[in-house]
Structure formats: structure tokens, C-alpha cells
């Protein structure tokens, strides 16, 4: 399979960053009220950002596919939808592990958690539709991805407009350097991981498209 030249060096850099990130996280100070469990923050928040970014990439690629009809955009949308499921699962598992200690409960049906779960379920629905929907499911899936993308700003601003115990979006801009450095390092690592996984997954779809082309050639 043909991969771009930057893929292998970027993979090495990403691997090194994943090795260094735990050191920075371990050196970060304990938060005054939550203590040790607050260190889940350094994987929970970056995975949540990548979860939302994947939903946006999936939605934009779907719009381009719906209006342009280029199969390349459909392949990108499908690859991004799978990453919505992956990073959404990480967010929705690490969040309750943190909440159990910080809030005393695994889950609350508040607006941030519920809308995130809905966004993840839209991506799962997209995957099921693409896998079992048969011919024409790519356009239906693209329509569904638009709802997934429309949910993203709602998830992001929900904590500022509705009463919830989830921290607001003002936490990150006000972080001191001791908390901010490991967070941003972890965020860049997750972002690089997202780019690499997206490229890898698009590559798989390209191979499948080539395989379909060969099957058509053998049928003729």
C-alpha cells in the first residue's frame, strides 16, 4: 500500500511523544480538591477534543461527498466516523472513571454527558448503516454524519449554558503552566495520532476501492 513520505517519521515522533507524555503527567502537581484522580484529565480532555474533531471531519467530508460526489470524500468520512467511535469510547469510559471519585457517581444525565453519548451513538449508527445498509447507504450515511457534526457545538457550549457539575470551558484557558504543559503535550500527541490513524484508515478504504475495481474487471 502506498503511504505518504511523512507517515513513517510522523509515526516515530508520535510513538516518542506517547512515551514522554506519562513522564510529564506524573510530574504535574496534584489538583487541590481532586488529588491523584484529576490526572485522568490529561487523556480525557485530548480524547474528547479529537472525538469532536473527528465528528467535524466526518461531517465536512460528508457534505463534500453529498454535493461533489467524489468517492475520496466518502472514504474520508467513513474513516473519520470510525475514529469518532474510537475516541468517543475513550472519552466516555475515562470520564466516568474520573467522575466516580470526583463526583461520587459513575454517570449523570446532564447535558454535556448526554449530548456526548448522543454524538457517539450517531457515529455508531453511521458505522452500522455503512456496514449493513447495502447500496445507497453512503448517501444516507452522509446525511446522518451532518447530524453528528451539528451536535458538536452543542456538546462544546453545553456546560456554559446549562446547570451541570461538569467543569466549564473556562478551565483550560486559566490553567497554570504546571497543568497546561502536560495537557497541551498530550493534546498534540492525540492530534498526531488522529492524523496518522485517519491516513491509515483512508488507505484501507483506498485498497478496498481498488479491490472492488478489480472484481468489476473480472466480472466483465
Amino acid at each position: 500500500m502506498h503511504m505518504p513520505k511523512w507517515f513513517v517519521p510522523a509515526t516515530v515522533v508520535c510513538g516518542l511523544m506517547f512515551a514522554v507524555a506519562p513522564v510529564l503527567i506524573a510530574q504535574a502537581p496534584y489538583e487541590s480538591t481532586m488529588g491523584l484522580v484529576q490526572k485522568i484529565f490529561y487523556v480525557h480532555l485530548p480524547s474528547a477534543w479529537v472525538f469532536l474533531l473527528s465528528a467535524i471531519v466526518c461531517g465536512v467530508a460528508s457534505i463534500r461527498y453529498l454535493f461533489g460526489g467524489n468517492p475520496r470524500h466518502d472514504r474520508t468520512a467513513w474513516a473519520a466516523a470510525e475514529l469518532v467511535v474510537l475516541f468517543g469510547a475513550i472519552t466516555l469510559i475515562t470520564g466516568p472513571l474520573w467522575a466516580r471519585k470526583a463526583w461520587g457517581v459513575w454517570w449523570l444525565w446532564d447535558v454535556r454527558l448526554t449530548s456526548s453519548l448522543m454524538g457517539w451513538m450517531v457515529a455508531v449508527a453511521y458505522m452500522l448503516l455503512r456496514k449493513y445498509g447495502g447500496p445507497g447507504s453512503e448517501k444516507l450515511g452522509a446525511g446522518l454524519a451532518l447530524f453528528g457534526m451539528a451536535n458538536v457545538p452543542f456538546i462544546y457550549i453545553s456546560v456554559n449554558y446549562w446547570r451541570t457539575i461538569h467543569p466549564t470551558t473556562s478551565v483550560v484557558p486559566t490553567l497554570p503552566t504546571s497543568f497546561g504543559l502536560p495537557l497541551w503535550f498530550s493534546a498534540v500527541t492525540f492530534l498526531l495520532m488522529f492524523v496518522l490513524l485517519l491516513r491509515l484508515r483512508v488507505g484501507l478504504e483506498e485498497q478496498r476501492a481498488r479491490l472492488d475495481g478489480l472484481y468489476l474487471a473480472t466480472d466483465e
Binding site: 500500500m1 488529588g35 491523584l36 484501507l204 481498488r210 478489480l214 474487471a217
Partner: protein, 100 residues
């Protein structure tokens, strides 16, 4: 009128007295002193979240992240290997039949 003046004087004296007291202690109202402990609280009477150890939750979270990412990379690699094998088989079939 005299009663009102008397009340104002009393309030002023009490307020100044309490301020003087605070200044003397060097502690402002924003800096409450820690409560003196009158009894020891058994661990089973603490709120549920305070009884939980944090380390297993933290380890579970980081382990899940590592496992999820690893499982996904393995899953994509296996799917790619399957497609690659199929591609090679089809291409060799096409070459044999002379249709490439």
C-alpha cells in the same frame, strides 16, 4: 432622636471593637481558621467518593486508552492484510487470464 443616636453609637462601638479584634488576630474574614476536631470519624461514614482510592481508577483509565488504541491499530492492520492478500490473489488471477 436620642434613642437613634444611642443605637448608632452602640453599633459603631461594636463594629470598631470587632474590627480591632480581627486586626489584633491578623486574620481576615476570608481566611477561616481550621475547625478544631472534636471527634474522629470512622472511614465507613465518609461520603462514598472520599472512601474510594484514586489509583485503581487512574490505572484503569490509562490502561483502557492504551488497550483501545492498540486494539484499533491491530484491527486496521489485520483488515489491511486481508485486503492486500485478496488484491494479490485477484491480480495474479487476472494476469493468468491475460486481462491486465
Amino acid at each position: 432622636m436620642i434613642r437613634l443616636l444611642f443605637l448608632v453609637v452602640i453599633l459603631f462601638v461594636r463594629g470598631a471593637g470587632s474590627d480591632a479584634l480581627l486586626l489584633g488576630q491578623g486574620v481576615g474574614p476570608a481566611d477561616p481558621q481550621p475547625q478544631q476536631q472534636e471527634e474522629f470519624v470512622p472511614i465507613d461514614e465518609l461520603p462514598a467518593q472520599d472512601q474510594l482510592p484514586a489509583a485503581p481508577l487512574l490505572v484503569a483509565a490509562y490502561s483502557f486508552v492504551a488497550l483501545a488504541l492498540f486494539a484499533y491499530v491491530v484491527s486496521v492492520a489485520r483488515r489491511m492484510a486481508t485486503v492486500q492478500r485478496e488484491l494479490e490473489r485477484l491480480e495474479s488471477d487476472l494476469k493468468r487470464s491475460g486481462r491486465t
